[in-house]
C-alpha cells in the first residue's frame, strides 16, 4: 500500500537525532510489547508479513508522532483483533480498567492463568527461503525495470523504486512472497534478487554524485529492461 511507512526519499524530517548511551528499552512497557510480539509470532498467531502490514495500516498522523514500540503495539492489536484472538471490546474494557487503576498489577485483571504447559517463546524469525518452484527469470547482469504498481495491500517494493531501471546484482534464491503471505494467500515463493540502481534513476538531478542503491526485490516486481545503473 502507498502508506506512511514507505519513507524512502521523503523530505522534511530534519536531521537524524541520536541519543548517547541509549538503553535497550526506554520504558518497561516497551519490553512488554517486545515480549508480546515474540510470543504471538512463536505461537503462530500471525506471520511477519501480516505483522508489518498491521503496522502499515496505522493512522498516518499517529504513525509519524509515535515511536517504534507504539507502532508495534498498534499493529499487533489490529492483527490480533482481526484474527479473533482478542476482541476489540475486551481490549478496550481492559485498557479502561488499567487507565482507572494504574497501580494495579497486570494480573489484577487476569481471570485465571491457564494450567496448560507454557506456550512457546522463540527469539529467531522463521527463515524465509524456500525451494524454488521455477527457474529464475533473471541472472546477474540482466537489466530490469521495476513495475509501477500501487497495490492496496502489502508490498515490499518501495514507492521510490517503482518504474525504475536497474541491474540484477545477485540472486538470493526463492523466498516467501510478502504480497500474498500478508493476506492469507500463502507463501507462493518467488525468486528474490538484489537489484542495483543508480541513485539518479530515483532522484534525478537531485541525486548526490557517485551513488548506488541496492534493493532486494522479488521477481513479480521486475520486468526485463534496458540498462542503466
Amino acid at each position: 500500500m502507498d502508506g506512511v511507512h514507505d519513507l524512502g526519499g521523503m523530505h522534511g524530517f530534519g536531521p537524524v537525532k541520536r541519543e548517547a548511551n541509549e538503553p535497550a528499552f526506554h520504558a518497561p512497557w516497551e519490553a512488554v510489547v517486545y515480549a508480546i510480539m515474540r510470543a504471538s509470532m512463536s505461537n503462530g498467531l500471525y506471520n511477519l508479513d501480516e505483522f508489518r502490514h498491521g503496522i502499515e495500516r496505522m493512522d498516518p498522523a499517529h504513525y509519524l508522532r509515535s515511536g517504534y514500540y507504539e507502532h508495534w503495539l498498534d499493529g499487533i492489536a489490529r492483527v490480533l483483533v482481526e484474527k479473533g484472538v482478542v476482541s476489540a471490546e475486551e481490549l478496550e474494557r481492559r485498557t479502561e480498567f488499567f487507565s482507572a487503576r494504574p497501580d494495579a498489577p497486570t494480573t489484577a485483571a487476569v481471570r485465571n492463568l491457564p494450567a496448560t504447559p507454557a506456550p512457546s517463546f522463540g527469539w529467531l524469525a522463521e527463515p524465509s527461503e524456500r525451494a524454488a518452484t521455477a527457474p529464475p527469470r533473471f541472472k546477474p547482469g540482466d537489466p530490469v525495470i521495476t513495475r509501477n504498481i500501487h497495490p492496496r495491500g502489502h508490498t515490499r517494493l518501495p514507492r521510490y523504486a517503482r518504474g525504475r531501471r536497474g541491474v540484477i546484482h545477485a540472486l538470493h534464491g526463492a523466498h516467501v512472497f510478502p504480497d500474498t503471505h500478508a493476506h492469507g494467500e500463502g507463501e507462493q515463493p518467488q525468486a528474490l534478487y538484489s537489484v542495483r540502481f543508480d541513485a539518479r534513476e530515483m532522484f534525478g538531478e537531485a541525486a548526490e554524485p557517485n551513488q548506488k542503491i541496492y534493493i532486494d526485490l522479488w521477481e513479480p516486481y521486475l520486468e526485463p529492461g534496458a540498462p542503466r545503473g
Binding site: L45, Y69, L73, T95, P114, F203
Partner: protein, 199 residues
C-alpha cells in the same frame, strides 16, 4: 519517543497492560516472557558478534573470504546460527551504508537491538536520497570519487558493513580490535578509529 503527550503515554501503557493480561489469560504469553526479554537485553552485548566477526576478518584473510562469501559458516565459527546475513566491504573505492526504508529491518542477531534513530523517519527517508549529507551529520566525510552504496533491507536478508581497519591498528590483535568497532561502523555511518567509540 518521549515526545508524546503525557496522556498519550498513559493510554499506551494501559493498553499494553490490557493486551499483556489478555494474552497471559489466553495462554499465549508465557508468564516469564517479559522477564526473559529484559534479562536478555540488559545483558545484551549489542554489536559484539558483528564486531568479533569484523576483527577476525581483519586479521585472517581466509575468514574474511568466508564472511563475505558464506556468512553462515563464518558466523557458525563464532557460535551464532544465522544464514541471512550479507556482509558488504568498505574499500578505498566504496563506502557502504544500510537502511530499511519500509520498516526497521536490522541484523539484530549479530548487532543487538537497533538504535532509535535507525527506526525513525529522518534516517529512513534520507539515507537513500542524500547519504553523503547524512554521513556528514555523523561526522563521516566521503569523497565524491568514492562510490556510496546504500543497501535498503526490503526482504529478510540482513546487511552488515565490514569497515576498513583504522590506520595504526596493525599491532592490535582481535581482542584489542573488538572494542574499537562500534555499532554505527557496522551500519556504515561511522569509521573505525583508534580511540574507542561512543554509543
Amino acid at each position: 519517543m518521549g515526545k508524546n503527550h503525557p496522556n498519550v503515554d498513559k493510554y499506551v501503557e494501559s493498553r499494553v497492560r490490557a493486551l499483556e493480561s489478555l494474552l497471559l489469560e489466553k495462554g499465549i504469553l508465557p508468564v516469564d516472557a517479559v522477564d526473559r526479554v529484559i534479562q536478555r537485553y540488559e545483558a545484551d552485548t549489542g554489536p559484539l558478534v558483528g564486531a568479533r566477526a569484523v576483527a577476525r576478518a581483519w586479521r585472517d584473510p581466509d575468514y574474511k573470504r568466508r564472511l563475505l562469501g558464506d556468512s553462515r559458516a563464518a558466523l557458525a565459527e563464532l557460535g551464532v546460527e544465522f544464514d541471512m546475513l550479507r556482509v558488504v566491504e568498505n574499500t578505498p573505492a566504496v563506502h557502504n551504508m544500510v537502511v530499511c526504508t519500509l520498516c526497521s529491518c536490522y541484523p539484530w542477531v549479530v548487532m543487538g537491538l537497533p538504535p532509535t534513530w535507525y527506526k525513525m523517519p529522518a534516517y529512513r527517508s534520507r539515507a537513500v536520497a542524500e547519504p553523503r549529507k547524512v554521513l556528514g551529520e555523523f561526522g563521516v566525510e566521503v569523497a565524491e570519487s568514492r562510490e556510496i552504496r546504500v543497501w535498503d533491507s526490503s526482504a529478510e536478508l540482513r546487511y552488515m558493513v565490514l569497515p576498513e581497519p583504522p590506520a595504526g591498528s596493525e599491532h592490535l590483535d582481535e581482542a584489542g580490535l573488538v572494542p574499537l568497532i562500534s555499532r554505527d561502523a557496522l551500519i556504515g555511518v561511522a569509521e573505525v578509529r583508534l580511540t574507542p567509540p561512543r554509543g
